[in-house]
């Protein structure tokens, strides 16, 4: 067997995974432990700026992300940093692109880093990967297939990737490179991994549609409407579960599923689980150790019915 990539990576959980996305954090760590993959949390990390700091000034966001990468590369000596959150992943990727291509960004980051008293990050020092890349490259579909103990057979899953994982295209130079690479228009890494775990992947046309996560609170009616589109489309595709890979999408779907029901009396049936939780269940991990009980969306009745939880 050839040596697989990403056996040992720096881990950047980000703020959301310490707050509303804690079950994503828990399940990612549990998967790493179960699969023998070492993840080492970036020391003294800071917020990447999420969707908000760029609206104040995009170069500040580049600086915030560059500090995280500087610590992973220069202080910890890693060549890959793994971010499960789409927002963090996107921002680190964008910072990487800007630092490689824009002189002004390089100057701002250098000046701020010097004033803040840490090393300046230079493009190419570390590779940013998503939790999906991490599992796909380190374990792969074959690895998952070998290790499945409770097949997800019969569980119909709609995979939802959201906006920040694929757009805009130019910050993801490794995507759209033909067979084996991720696609920005039809992403499939989550489909591949969950299919390997035995799930039935439904053809979901809204994979990369927007959940309105940036407006969850500031413009809730638009968010509720966008989330309802996602939920109703998943229902129409016959999905039991929507699998997510972003804490903002996940909590947006959960929040606005409740809001649609409470405010507008519109009930929708799909339950929402992180793809890491679904993979963990397939590997036979305890739902409690995967944070299934911490989700707002109550998936336990469904999981019990399918014999995936007790």
């Amino acid at each position: 067997m050839t040596a697989k990539k990403y056996q040992k990576v720096a881990y950047y959980p980000g703020c959301a995974l310490e707050g509303t996305g804690h079950s994503y954090n828990r399940s990612t760590k549990a998967l790493g432990a179960a699969l023998g993959l070492e993840i080492d949390e970036v020391k003294n990390w800071n917020c990447c700026g999420a969707m908000e700091v760029k609206n104040i000034d995009p170069k500040l966001q580049t600086y915030l992300s560059s500090r995280v990468m500087a610590i992973a590369a220069q202080e910890m000596g890693y060549d890959a940093v793994m971010a499960p959150c789409n927002g963090c992943y996107h921002n680190l990727k964008k910072a990487e692109y800007d630092l490689a291509n824009d002189e002004e960004s390089r100057q701002v980051v250098d000046s701020l880093s010097k004033k803040a008293g840490h090393g300046t990050y230079k493009a190419g020092e570390v590779e940013t990967i998503h939790a999906l890349d991490w599992l796909k490259e380190s374990i792969g579909e074959d690895g998952i297939r070998e290790r499945v103990r409770n097949s997800l057979k019969g569980l119909k899953i709609a995979n939802y990737y959201g906006c920040m994982y694929t757009r805009p295209r130019h910050i993801f130079p490794e995507k759209d490179k033909g067979p084996g690479s991720e696609s920005t228009s039809q992403p499939h890494f989550m489909d591949d991994l969950l299919a390997a775990a035995g799930a039935e992947i439904v053809d979901y046309p809204l994979k990369t549609a927007c959940c309105g996560g940036a407006h969850s609170l500031s413009d809730s009616d638009i968010s509720t409407k966008l989330v309802l589109n996602l939920l109703r489309a998943a229902e129409a595709c016959g999905a039991d579960v929507i699998a997510t890979e972003c804490p903002t999408c996940h909590s947006g779907l959960e929040m606005h599923q409740v809001r649609a029901e409470k405010r507008f009396g519109i009930k929708t049936t799909p339950v929402i689980l992180y793809f890491t939780q679904l993979l963990g269940l397939a590997l036979g991990l305890n739902p409690r150790d995967l944070g299934v009980h911490e989700n707002i969306s109550d998936s336990l009745p469904l999981l019990r019915e399918r014999g995936l939880a007790v």
Partner: protein, 270 residues
């Protein structure tokens, strides 16, 4: 019809005559509907440069009006008045008063980046939307939108501590926009959240609100960031020809004109 003629067929621009005879031909009724002649004298020739001076708006001059942005837009699918292509056109031709008709919805861009993905000219329309709503506020045309308030609260926490704490963010946001923190749907969400939640987790989340998460040794980064932000703010005001001590816009209040159930269902059926 070219997009710049769109505004000419608004209700208030139409003239109808019950009785009208032109050159001996009776064109009364249906045939006497005309678009009123209009003289535009209030072009703001600086508008494009002003938007380009704000973060996100830098590449507005590349636009060739193909309409891919509006065609792919998430918000346009919900509200056809949300039209990035049209706004870019108005900004580039300096039709300020026309743009101001839509001033209260421009901030509603959800930053999904579908426009940026589709744009063949790298205009980054998503950035242009942010720059435009920033411009509207700086110029005093609109109060700070709920999104701008959220951005400020979020960025303020990041700049001060290096990390954010969500419950504090939510409380501050609701306070500034004049909304109650206790809302029916938030309550039922919390109820579901604690249904299975282990007590240990609850205590952990509670402690997080008491002891704000923070990056260690952040003081120097904080000072550097604040200095940079001040410089940038001054530069933005200067680019827009505003005095250095121009007062800040007030916060928008009660930002959520809630759709009633019927309207939402009707909208979803479309």
């Amino acid at each position: 019809m070219p997009i710049h003629e769109k505004h000419l067929i608004r209700e208030e621009n139409l003239l109808t005559h019950d009785k009208l005879v032109i050159e001996g031909v009776d064109v009364s009724g249906h045939w006497s509907t005309f678009i009123q002649t209009r003289v535009v004298s209030d072009y703001n020739e600086k508008m494009e440069d002003e938007i380009a001076a704000l973060p996100g708006g830098e590449h507005i001059n590349r636009c060739w009006q193909c309409g891919s942005c509006t065609n792919s837009c998430t918000v346009n699918a919900i509200n056809p008045d949300f039209n990035p292509r049209y706004w870019i056109y108005l900004i580039r031709t300096g039709m300020e008063s026309e743009l101001l008709r839509d001033k209260d919805i421009i901030w509603q861009c959800v930053s999904c980046n579908k426009c940026t993905y589709a744009c063949p000219r790298d205009v980054f329309p998503e950035g242009v939307m942010k720059a435009t709503s920033h411009w509207l506020t700086l110029k005093g045309h609109t109060p700070k939108s709920p999104l701008q308030i959220f951005d400020e609260e979020f960025a303020g926490q990041v700049f001060a501590k290096g990390k954010i704490e969500e419950s504090r963010l939510i409380r501050r946001f609701f306070a500034r926009t004049g909304q109650p923190v206790v809302q029916d749907w938030l309550l039922s969400m919390v109820k579901r959240m604690i249904k299975y939640l282990p007590v240990k987790m609850l205590i952990g989340l509670g402690l997080q609100t008491l002891f704000h998460p923070r990056a260690r040794g952040w003081a120097r980064a904080r000072a550097a960031i604040n200095e940079y932000v001040h410089e940038k703010e001054a530069a933005h005001r200067k680019a827009l020809g505003l005095p250095a001590d121009a007062p800040e816009a007030p916060d928008a209040q009660q930002p959520q004109p809630h759709l009633d159930r019927k309207a939402l269902i009707a909208a979803l059926k479309n």
